[in-house]
């Protein structure tokens, strides 16, 4: 019997050691880091313990800008991408021919390297000495002026970033919603049609309640994902996000850790923990709303 136990632990050993070393220990360590004041990375010494790192981060204009950017991104991208993906999934589930093809195409952005495709968005939106870029060509058609979406005004940059994020996150949402719609029993629709319900009524009273768990799941994960946005911003604007004014909270964490402005793991830890609590509270709010609205 003892041998049996030992054997089980032996099978678990690799997984548990990886988890302990790279997930559990760092979790405690990051909390400790965040309270160590004046930690020196090279000499590994500290001045004291307290809330100074948090107060520094919360007073850092770059962090405030990162918070602002992140919230704007979340508020724009989450509702729009969820709504469009819902419309697309409804459309997909009401057609037969070409459906597979559409589904395959829609999934493509999921398997692309976001850093690489970000460069395509960059050349589409960026005017250079040689060309105004495709987007500005369209703007010219409507007699507008050339806008530099990559190094230009804040709102132009935010617009491209939001468009790119939406483009990237759609495949996942469409996939989840189409499988949710496919699991609604056909009889429900037939019954409603016999009762003479309009399409809108069917959607409101049957489809929406039945897919509401998936929908809320998408909203919750969508919020979490959008709050952790970083790579897509790098893809469009390069690694110096602070100077571009387009940094995100996660970007701030990494910039504090590494790179030209790096070497401050304590500030990075404090910022990461603040981010964690923002995400946690938003998720809890979402969950309490979903408890009231979702039909299980």
């Amino acid at each position: 019997m003892l041998k049996q136990h030992l054997k089980a632990w032996l099978y678990l050993l690799p997984a548990l050691s990886f988890l302990a070393l790279f997930l559990v220990y760092p979790l405690f360590d990051v909390v400790i880091y965040s309270f160590e004041e004046g930690y020196n990375f090279v000499t590994q010494t500290k001045l004291g313990v307290g809330f100074y790192n948090y107060s520094y981060v919360l007073h850092d204009p770059y962090f405030i800008a990162a918070i602002k950017n992140t919230f704007i991104m979340v508020i724009i991208t989450v509702p729009i991408s969820t709504l469009i993906s819902l419309l697309i999934s409804l459309g997909l589930s009401s057609i037969k021919p070409l459906r597979k093809l559409f589904q395959t195409v829609y999934f493509l952005p999921y398997v692309t390297n976001t850093l690489a495709v970000g460069l395509v968005f960059m050349i589409l939106f960026k005017p250079t000495e040689y060309t105004d870029g495709l987007m500005n060509m369209i703007i010219h058609l409507f007699h507008g002026n050339t806008i530099d979406f990559i190094n230009g005004p804040y709102w132009a940059k935010m617009l491209v970033l939001c468009l790119y994020i939406i483009w990237i996150v759609m495949p996942f949402k469409i996939l989840i919603l189409t499988s949710a719609l496919a699991s609604v029993p056909e009889q429900f629709y037939d019954a409603a049609k016999i009762d003479g319900a309009s399409n809108f009524m069917i959607f409101r009273k049957i489809t929406l309640p039945l897919i509401s768990p998936s929908l809320f799941y998408l909203i919750i994960t969508g919020f979490i994902g959008a709050f952790k946005e970083y790579t897509n911003a790098v893809a469009l604007f390069g690694v110096n996000l602070n100077s571009e004014g387009m940094n995100t909270i996660v970007g701030y964490v990494y910039d504090m850790l590494y790179g030209d402005s790096g070497g401050y793991p304590s500030y990075a830890s404090a910022a990461a923990i603040i981010l964690f609590f923002i995400v946690l509270s938003i998720t809890l709010i979402n969950l309490s709303i979903s408890k009231k609205k979702v039909v299980y």
């Binding site: 054997k7 678990l12 690799p14 760092p26 979790l27 990051v30 390297n113 994960t221 830890s269 990461a272």
Partner: protein, 291 residues
């Protein structure tokens, strides 16, 4: 007679309505199709325009009259793109295989072996799924710096191996295999390990394949950890490579060469996706992870 006529005309208008609805739906779906495909079209198009052709078009053209593969040659010779590819392949293969071994062993222990505290350990492991990477990356980075593992494959690979979710997914799959097979194997004198490799793994193959492909995609596209742990271009993966190319590659104006690099990086995964379309899509919808 009159009633029948009204019914008929009603049916006709509802038929017309249906057709209009179909047209609207197909138009809408096709527009989104175009939005998704356009960036891919544009990168391929720009990559086959010659440098002079591209820069001569103040208003970009939608076709290329003199397509050339010259940019691909530039992309692979002027910057170490093949080096980035090789690094990514090494990283992906080792990380994915290590992950699979570790995950399979753990899933086997959780689903088939009996030991004290199994439920507790499993619950604790599941709880780890809630830890966001952003929190642990900081310490992992300092660990790697302290161990002098920056700019090594060990440093790149080790923290990327763990995947709590896949342990859970595979355990669920293993548990569906009937107990009778296990006891039959025991009677035949097969060891646990033999049972795992000869019976469980072949039966759970579809799930294992999904997990493998999802991990390969994740590895191929990983950016944040490789960027932290490597600053020597000899160890760059494709994501960091493309970032490097963007910052100081061919010079900012040689966009066709840049696009050739982008196409080269994108194609392997697109081929993989077209081959394993079903496994990838069911895998993603079950695992519910956003890439």
């Amino acid at each position: 007679m009159k009633d029948e006529l009204i019914l008929k005309s009603n049916k006709k208008t509802s038929d017309n309505k249906k057709i209009v609805r179909k047209i609207i739906i197909y138009t809408f779906l096709s527009i989104w199709c175009l939005i998704v495909l356009f960036p891919f079209y544009w990168m391929i198009l720009s990559s086959i325009k010659s440098y002079s052709e591209y820069n001569a078009e103040f208003i970009p053209k939608f076709i290329s009259l003199e397509p050339t593969l010259e940019n691909y040659r530039t992309a692979f010779t002027l910057v170490p793109l093949s080096r980035y590819f090789l690094n990514t392949i090494i990283f992906t293969v080792i990380t994915t295989s290590l992950m699979m071994i570790v995950t399979t062993l753990a899933a086997f222990a959780f689903s088939r072996l009996e030991f004290k505290g199994k439920r507790l350990v499993f619950t604790l492991v599941l709880a780890l799924m809630m830890i966001p990477t952003e929190l642990v990356v900081i310490t992992n980075y300092t660990t790697m710096v302290n161990l002098n593992l920056r700019n090594t494959f060990t440093g790149l690979i080790l923290p990327s191996v763990t995947s709590v979710f896949y342990i859970y997914l595979l355990k669920e799959n293993f548990e569906q295999i009937p107990d009778s097979l296990y006891y039959a194997a025991k009677v035949d004198g097969a060891s646990d390990f033999k049972y795992l490799t000869r019976i469980m793994i072949p039966i759970a193959r579809p799930t294992i394949v999904s997990i493998l492909i999802l991990k390969v995609i994740e590895c191929w596209n990983s950016y944040v950890w490789p960027r932290l742990v490597t600053d020597n271009p000899d160890y760059y993966l494709v994501s960091n490579g493309i970032q490097e190319i963007r910052q100081n590659g061919f010079g900012r104006e040689n966009i066709p060469a840049m696009m050739a690099a982008v196409v080269s990086i994108s194609i392997p995964l697109i081929i993989l996706f077209l081959i394993f379309r079903k496994q990838i899509m069911t895998g993603v919808s079950r695992s519910g992870t956003k890439g």
